[in-house]
């Protein structure tokens, strides 16, 4: 059981849990589910174009930024250290990705 959960991953488990929540709510109040889905679709329509742009930027940052490039700007002997910090806006992925670069 634990193995199956690990294979699915926390991200998908979260989404499955939310979908289950919709199912449970649907049994009790179907109108609320419809209203919630309408809000969801409205939000999705609004952020979809931005999402495409964000993923394009992530691709570019993957292309030009790798641990080697980052350590060139952060490593010993560089003139301007700290210019590229994990929280700087060029890093789009979740913060935990940056720990590997820093180690």
């Amino acid at each position: 059981m634990k193995n199956v959960l690990m294979r699915i991953g926390a991200n998908w488990l979260f989404m499955i849990a939310v979908v289950l929540l919709y199912f449970i709510l649907g049994l009790w109040n179907f109108q609320a589910v419809i209203a919630s889905l309408e809000t969801f679709l409205g939000l999705l329509k609004r952020i979809l174009p931005i999402l495409v742009l964000v993923f394009a930027l992530i691709y570019l940052s993957n292309l030009f930024l790798n641990p080697k490039v980052v350590s060139r700007y952060l490593g010993e002997g560089t003139k301007r250290r700290g210019g590229l910090s994990p929280s700087s806006p060029v890093f789009f992925p979740p913060a935990q990705y940056t720990f590997g670069i820093l180690c």
Partner: protein, 142 residues
């Protein structure tokens, strides 16, 4: 060599999409639920309009949440629509990006416990400071 670099970047992007899409869709679905089921008065009860307390509450909420930063912008926009003050929403977004209570364990294993705690503690306080400063500065120029 060059082609493998493009491929590598594509692989990284695919991984990123695989990680962030379920969270993003889950959060959007949750926002739909919250908008339908939770009344605006509930938010007003948590965010009382206190200038000192609201950003701190926003920062604490942001530090608990985890995921891709763009998710926080969507949630932030919805909070603003629900009448939450800009300073609280800003603190929420800044702490979402800079503070990671969920990944604190991984962070302390990689960078050291003391360092991770200090980093997150200072980032939490700074999220409040940055939010207040942003509102003040945008008030001057806007």
């Amino acid at each position: 060599m060059q082609q493998s670099r493009w491929k590598q970047a594509g692989k990284g992007l695919l991984n990123n999409i695989k990680m962030s899409i379920p969270i993003l869709l889950g959060v959007l679905l949750l926002i739909g639920l919250v908008n339908t089921l939770v009344h605006k008065e509930f938010f007003a009860r948590i965010f009382t309009g206190n200038r000192a307390l609201d950003p701190l509450i926003g920062a604490i909420f942001g530090s608990i949440a985890a995921g891709n930063p763009m998710t926080s912008y969507v949630i932030g926009g919805e909070l603003l629509k629900n009448g939450i003050s800009l300073v609280a929403v800003l603190a929420f977004i800044v702490s979402w990006v800079t503070v990671g209570s969920v990944q604190l364990l991984a962070e302390s294993m990689s960078l050291g416990k003391k360092f991770a705690l200090l980093l997150n503690g200072i980032a939490l306080l700074m999220a409040v400071v940055i939010a207040v400063l942003t509102v003040l500065i945008s008030g001057i120029f806007g």
